[in-house]
């Protein structure tokens, strides 16, 4: 781990702001951008980068939940049900991370980025909203006002076992790689489980805080997480997210998906390049 000097803290702060802003606009946690930067550019071991990133994931989750509360986009029950799977996956990932080599973690990170990019591109025009305020959302579904289509959207949750499995994997990768896990859950919830993109993103944003907390506690206990490194990252991400939230309202979903895929492919390439032959 590089020594934590004042210039380094300022660089971490700036990186957090950029990652947080782009993360919000892309519908990611920001971790998938911050971890590679901390690891590839600043020389943090992937485990420490993941630990720092997890604290920013928690901060983003809490801030987004505080801002979104009241507009019914977050599906609290679906979130809590899926959290059982993400937290279990997270616990396992946090323990596994202690035993895995750096180059293996880098390859997993690269693979995850590619898989997610492919999923996102493959399902680019999927819109599964019912513009009917009186339709039955079922026990786990939801209803919210969608500004983009200008109507009250009702949705039902389909293929719950798939949603639970995706959440377990997302939780596992969250702890292991320091990402929020929204990159796994949101496309799957959106494409196959009937949850509209905005509702899936808001629910995932709420969930990743609890998932990341489990992982961050493990890293802290094992000495991979320092408050002095977490502080500038968290503050940077908070400011970046705040700025990004203002921009995200005006950005189109289709454009966001293309940008998301492109960023993921670049990250994957860099990770593979660094992991060696």
């Amino acid at each position: 781990m590089p020594p934590l000097t004042v210039p380094l803290a300022l660089i971490i702060f700036a990186a957090g702001a950029v990652a947080g802003g782009l993360g919000i606009v892309l519908g990611l946690g920001g971790g998938i951008l911050l971890v590679p930067f901390l690891s590839l550019a600043l020389g943090f071991p992937l485990k420490s980068a993941a630990a720092i990133s997890l604290t920013t994931v928690i901060a983003t989750s809490s801030a987004v939940a505080a801002a979104r509360a009241g507009n019914q986009l977050m599906n609290l029950r679906l979130g809590m049900l899926l959290e059982v799977a993400t937290v279990a996956g997270g616990l396992l990932g946090g323990i596994t991370a202690q035993a895995i080599a750096e180059s293996t973690l880098q390859r997993i990170f690269g693979l995850v980025a590619i898989v997610v990019a492919v999923i996102v591109l493959g399902r680019i025009n999927r819109r599964n909203v019912i513009c009917d305020a009186n339709a039955d959302p079922g026990r786990l579904g939801g209803r919210f006002y969608d500004a983009e289509s200008g109507c009250v959207v009702t949705y039902r949750v389909r293929r719950l076992p798939l949603a639970l499995f995706a959440s377990f994997v997302a939780g596992n990768l969250s702890s292991l790689l320091g990402i929020g896990g929204g990159v796994i859950k949101v496309p799957i919830l959106n494409a196959w489980c009937g949850v509209p993109l905005r509702a899936a993103a808001a629910t995932s944003a709420l969930m990743i805080g609890v998932t990341a907390t489990g992982g961050a506690i493990i890293y802290y206990g094992r000495g991979d997480l320092q408050a002095l490194a977490a502080a500038p990252a968290v503050l940077g991400v908070q400011i970046g997210s705040w700025a990004g939230m203002r921009f995200a309202e005006h950005a189109s979903v289709r454009w966001l998906k293309v940008l998301m895929a492109a960023v993921l492919m670049v990250v994957a390439g860099l990770m593979f390049a660094r992991s060696g032959p």
Binding site: L76, E83, R139
Partner: protein, 101 residues
């Protein structure tokens, strides 16, 4: 029982929003103060208390959200969700156990 659009879900959402807001602001304030003291070269005892305190509050905020949810689901007598929420809390407790053992 029809959940996400019921008035109870709306109330829980507001309480959660408040908890998350307080947690976010408090932990960020601790981080900002601790980091500022460190940067101006006064990273003494106060900074060494503020920075870990910010981290602790940060980690406690999502846990607090889960605890608030348990209380709400108990008052709604939705036992399935009481059980699910307690399972999430138990898993967080298991992380603490895995971290320090």
């Amino acid at each position: 029982m029809r959940s996400s659009d019921g008035r109870d879900a709306g109330r829980l959402e507001k309480v959660i929003g408040r908890v998350m807001w307080i947690g976010t602001v408090t932990s960020s304030a601790c981080f900002a103060a601790g980091l500022f003291l460190t940067i101006i070269g006064r990273g003494g005892t106060l900074a060494r208390v503020l920075l870990p305190a910010g981290l602790f509050i940060l980690l406690a905020t999502p846990a607090a959200r889960v605890i608030v949810s348990v209380v709400e689901y108990i008052s709604e007598r939705d036992w399935l969700f009481v059980a699910l929420t307690l399972t999430v809390l138990l898993a967080l407790a298991a992380s603490v156990w895995a971290a320090f053992l």
